[in-house]
């Protein structure tokens, strides 16, 4: 009965419609807009849960756009992406009620937040190339407008243009991908007809263009150039949505296209593993050098996309070599990490947003000691930090465990290149884990612990209920997936099956993990109680000892930059940090200052110079783009006439 009603698809479509509507209604009331978006996302979540439970469905209607059909379908793979998109977007809209109540461009922001959500939801359920591109552009343009909410700041406009350029290039690559797919399968643009294209001579070209197009969106290194600036400068709930879920549609795209190929060449998998290693190591390397809290989080998205790419790569290798164990472990790791990263990265951005909201600065070196003033926000950030480092007992460990197992398995019984790459990737993942730990303990410690480094946070306090609720929900979910991992196993099974045919995820790792969590949880409680009650009562009335120095001041603390300095020096070959150190010539030093920062090597040393040259070269074409609408209409008319004559 439910099958005939196509309930799961209708629910997701309703989610798309309600999200769009929330964008319109938001012009009148922020609370009503949030309520509508939450209802819409609730419907989408219900639809995707149904799909994971087995009630997959597809809707199909004609559309008068050439090659286009209004085809949407919800299978387990789409549902795996609909769930986090709907959840994070809904929580973001609740968060925004207080966070961006009437800041600059609040109405515009609310309107396009709804459009962005609708675009994302529609994107992952589209089953037709034209509809997909339509949703893609909806998302891309809405994201541009939300990023540039504070467009009175030059920095925001700059990152907005970088983003716009990146997303245009990505779309161009996708045009090429879809054209190649259509060329390889009798001109059809429906997803389910594309199988022949991925088994024909064009498949390598399809893979490369898709990887560039989707990789630009996902922020795979070195295509990440737009990501750090955009995520840092957008309003925090938009950063959460972009970092938590929007970049994942790039992963969805790669997964969807590769799912159509039964026997991919080995180098596809190797390419993804290599991209994963590069994004992982350099993503976290750049992150640790940042002074801006939100920029630091943004670079960690690059790192986590790298971990997801590692999982996808292992799964593709498994498919290429006919190794089911690799398919299952790689895909389970990648998909679960899509969820996990969605959860803990939004959690971190919401917490960071509260910090920015309360103190008015994103500079880590101006913060400190915030735990005393905003303990609830601090707790949220701590949970997110532990989770993103992949530490037990939270969710990050489970997905990284799958990826590790996949990589370790790939080192035996595989051809030479594969085990070599897998071996290096496994060790790199260990490096990434340790660096992420260094980075997040630095961020957490510098912002929330110690003493305040500047008067910025003097009157900071925890935000209100609507901002704290999303933080607590996400923290609870991180813990729930960490401890209750077996509960998500059916979803992973279903999604892996829809990607590669029926497989079963390995579940034998969960029971021992629970034993371990129970034992250590018990020990922790006993010891904490002992310190608190059984030991002699604690006195807390002296300053930090500081090796006998009687009057330590907050300015003597280790800053986050000094904490990171050793790692930054180790990675100086890639990070290219700039330092302005004073040069002393006289015996008694005069006034001096020290400054260091880590610019984005790819953007500032690669992309900007190249595009500068291109910009100067094409400057002569400027007269054709005079900014007059009727001239542009003439261009379009002329193009159409030429095309008609040419046919």
């Amino acid at each position: 009965m439910i099958d005939e009603l196509d309930l799961s698809s209708w629910l997701v479509v309703a989610g798309v419609a309600l999200s769009l509507a929330s964008g319109l209604i938001s012009l009148s009331s922020p609370r009503r807009a949030a309520a509508l978006l939450v209802i819409g996302c609730g419907a989408a979540i219900a639809g995707s849960v149904l799909a994971i439970a087995g009630w997959t469905s597809e809707l199909d209607a004609p559309w008068d756009v050439p090659g286009g059909r209004l085809r949407v379908g919800v299978d387990a793979l789409s549902a795996m992406f609909v769930l986090p998109i709907a959840l994070v977007s809904a929580l973001g809209s609740i968060y925004a009620v207080e966070y961006w109540a009437d800041g600059a461009g609040a109405r515009k922001l609310r309107a396009f937040y709804g459009v962005l959500t609708a675009g994302l939801l529609l994107l992952v359920v589209s089953r037709n190339g034209i509809l997909f591109l339509f949703a893609w552009e909806l998302m891309a343009v809405a994201a541009f407008i939300t990023i540039t909410t504070e467009d009175d700041r030059a920095e925001v406009r700059d990152v907005g243009y970088v983003y716009l350029l990146a997303t245009r290039i990505g779309t161009l690559c996708l045009f090429a991908t879809f054209a190649l797919l259509a060329a390889g399968s009798n001109g059809s643009l429906d997803f389910d007809t594309w199988r022949p294209a991925l088994h024909g001579p064009l498949r390598d070209a399809i893979f490369v263009t898709a990887l560039v197009g989707f990789g630009l969106k996902a922020g795979m290194m070195p295509l990440h150039v737009w990501l750090p600036g955009a995520h840092a400068n957008a309003p925090s709930h938009v950063s959460a949505q972009m970092s938590g879920v929007m970049i994942k549609v790039g992963i969805y795209g790669v997964a969807r296209i590769t799912s159509l190929c039964d026997q991919p060449p080995v180098w596809w998998g190797i390419t993804l593993v290599v991209i994963g290693v590069v994004s992982g190591v350099l993503g976290v390397g750049f992150a640790i050098g940042q002074h801006d809290l939100k920029r630091l989080l943004a670079y960690h998205s690059v790192e986590n996309i790298g971990i997801i790419a590692l999982g996808l790569g292992v799964a593709l290798l498994g498919r290429a070599l006919g190794r089911d164990d690799l398919v299952v472990l790689g895909m389970a790791g990648a998909l679960l990490h899509v969820w996990n990263h969605g959860l803990f990265k939004s959690l971190l951005f919401f917490s960071a947003g509260s910090v920015v909201h309360a103190t008015g600065t994103r500079e880590i070196d101006r913060l400190g000691g915030l735990w005393r003033k905003m303990p609830k926000t601090g707790f949220g950030f701590l949970v997110g930090a532990v989770a993103i480092c992949g530490l037990p007992p939270l969710n990050g460990l489970i997905s990284e465990l799958f990826v590790y197992l996949g990589l370790f398995r790939a080192t035996s019984g595989t051809p030479g290149t594969v085990w070599l790459v897998a071996m290096l990737a496994a060790a790199s993942l260990a490096l990434v884990g340790a660096l992420a730990l260094a980075c997040f303990v630095k961020a957490f410690g510098s912002v929330f612990l110690g003493a305040p480094r500047s008067p910025d946070g003097a009157d900071a306090h925890d935000p209100g209920r609507t901002m704290l609720a999303p933080i607590f929900v996400l923290a609870a979910l991180c813990a729930a997936i960490g401890v209750g991992a077996p509960l998500v196993a059916p979803a992973l099974d279903a999604a892996i099956a829809s990607w590669a045919g029926p497989r079963v995820a390995p579940l034998d790792v969960y029971a021992p993990l629970l034993t371990l969590a129970a034992v250590s949880g018990g020990l922790l409680v006993v010891l904490a109680m002992w310190i608190k009650y059984a030991a002699r009562p604690a006195k807390q009335d002296v300053p930090t000892w500081d090796c006998g120095y009687a009057a330590p001041s907050a300015r003597m603390q280790y800053t986050s930059s000094s904490f990171a300095d050793m790692v930054v020096r180790l990675f100086a070959w890639a990070l290219r940090p700039t330092r302005h150190a004073p040069h002393f010539t006289e015996p008694f030093p005069q006034h001096a200052s020290f400054e260091s920062h880590v610019p984005d090597t790819v953007l500032d040393r690669g992309v900007r110079p190249v595009f500068g040259v291109i910009g100067r070269a094409v400057g002569r074409l400027r007269p054709f783009q005079g900014g007059r609408l009727h001239v542009y209409l003439v261009y379009i008319l002329a193009t159409l006439l030429v095309l008609l004559l040419w046919r």
Partner: protein, 307 residues
């Protein structure tokens, strides 16, 4: 499961709880003998722990509960990790595919909270130690995982209990060279992760040059006791990892394996004492180079294995 399995588990847990402070005693005794001193009693570390337990706790006004959580989490994670590591060739109480990842990441959780507790004091010295600890462990981690790759490939399994189980004696016959390589690498990591000479000097009087010891300057009383005990257990774990590779005790009688294991652990402690007596501390900038050497050694191990 049989009753004997549970008895072995009980011995495992008892050893993890009781033995670690003795290792510190053996190291100090060895160093004292090298210096021509009598040295503190063998059981000095136990006396210290009992003394610290009775002391009062003084906290800085800057600190929050994270400061108190640091030592506790470090101790609990070390104890939890000990349940995953096979001792004396017996299966560990908790064993599953991928337990080596959980082992490493549990110790990571302990490190996270130790560093956070250090930053909580707002002291420049402790921040310095924290930064060093974080940086050095970044270099030690790949060395450990390369080594685990060798063990996993040699034993064709993904669980520590299998990797260091009975199959290791067969591996010594077929692939001795890789094992020697990772053994050397693990010894270096042992010294680095447990802040021994040449990486760190636990007895130096200059806070500016310390790593681990400077992070816990502000911990006192029961909290300091927790720190010392947790660090001793961590030393025990790394020593047991080295013993697990070097001494394939799975091949001998399961009951005789226990005393042999204790003997091997004490031998590792003597070895650490000897290293500390005959070497000087490295300069800080040289430490990353030595750790990279450990990584490369492990990587050579992998290459030798699959050649």
């Amino acid at each position: 499961m049989e009753v004997t399995t549970y008895i072995h588990f009980a011995i495992h847990v008892a050893l993890v709880i009781a033995l670690p402070p003795l290792l510190l005693g053996v190291i100090n005794k060895t160093k004292a003998r090298f210096a021509g001193r009598v040295g503190p009693p063998w059981l000095q570390a136990y006396y210290d722990l009992f003394k610290l337990r009775r002391k009062g706790l003084v906290l800085s006004t800057t600190t929050t509960w994270v400061f108190r959580a640091g030592p506790i989490v470090a101790l609990v994670t070390a104890l939890a990790a000990s349940l995953l590591l096979p001792l004396a060739g017996h299966r560990a109480p908790v064993a599953f595919d991928g337990d080596f990842v959980v082992f490493a990441y549990l110790l990571g959780l302990g490190r996270f909270f130790t560093i956070a507790a250090a930053l909580d004091t707002g002291s420049a010295f402790e921040g310095m130690g924290a930064a060093r600890e974080a940086t050095f462990s970044c270099l030690a981690e790949p060395a450990v995982f390369f080594g685990l790759l060798v063990l996993a490939k040699a034993s064709d399994s993904l669980s520590l209990s299998e990797m260091l189980g009975p199959s290791i004696s067969a591996t010594w016959g077929t692939a001795g060279a890789p094992l020697v390589a990772i053994l050397a690498s693990f010894l270096i990591v042992l010294l680095a992760e447990n802040s021994r000479i040449p990486f760190d000097d636990p007895n130096t009087h200059l806070e500016l040059t310390m790593v681990h010891e400077v992070m816990v300057l502000d911990h006192g009383g029961p909290l300091l006791g927790t720190v010392v005990y947790g660090a001793a257990i961590k030393l025990f774990l790394f020593a047991a990892l080295v013993v697990g590779i070097a001494a394939p005790l799975g091949a001998i009688d399961p009951w005789l394996a226990w005393p042999a294991f204790v003997g091997a652990m004490l031998a590792v402690a003597v070895l650490i004492g000897v290293v500390e007596s005959v070497m000087a501390r490295l300069r800080l900038p040289q430490i990353p180079a030595l750790l990279l050497a450990a990584c490369l050694m492990s990587a050579f191990g992998v290459l030798l294995l699959v050649r």
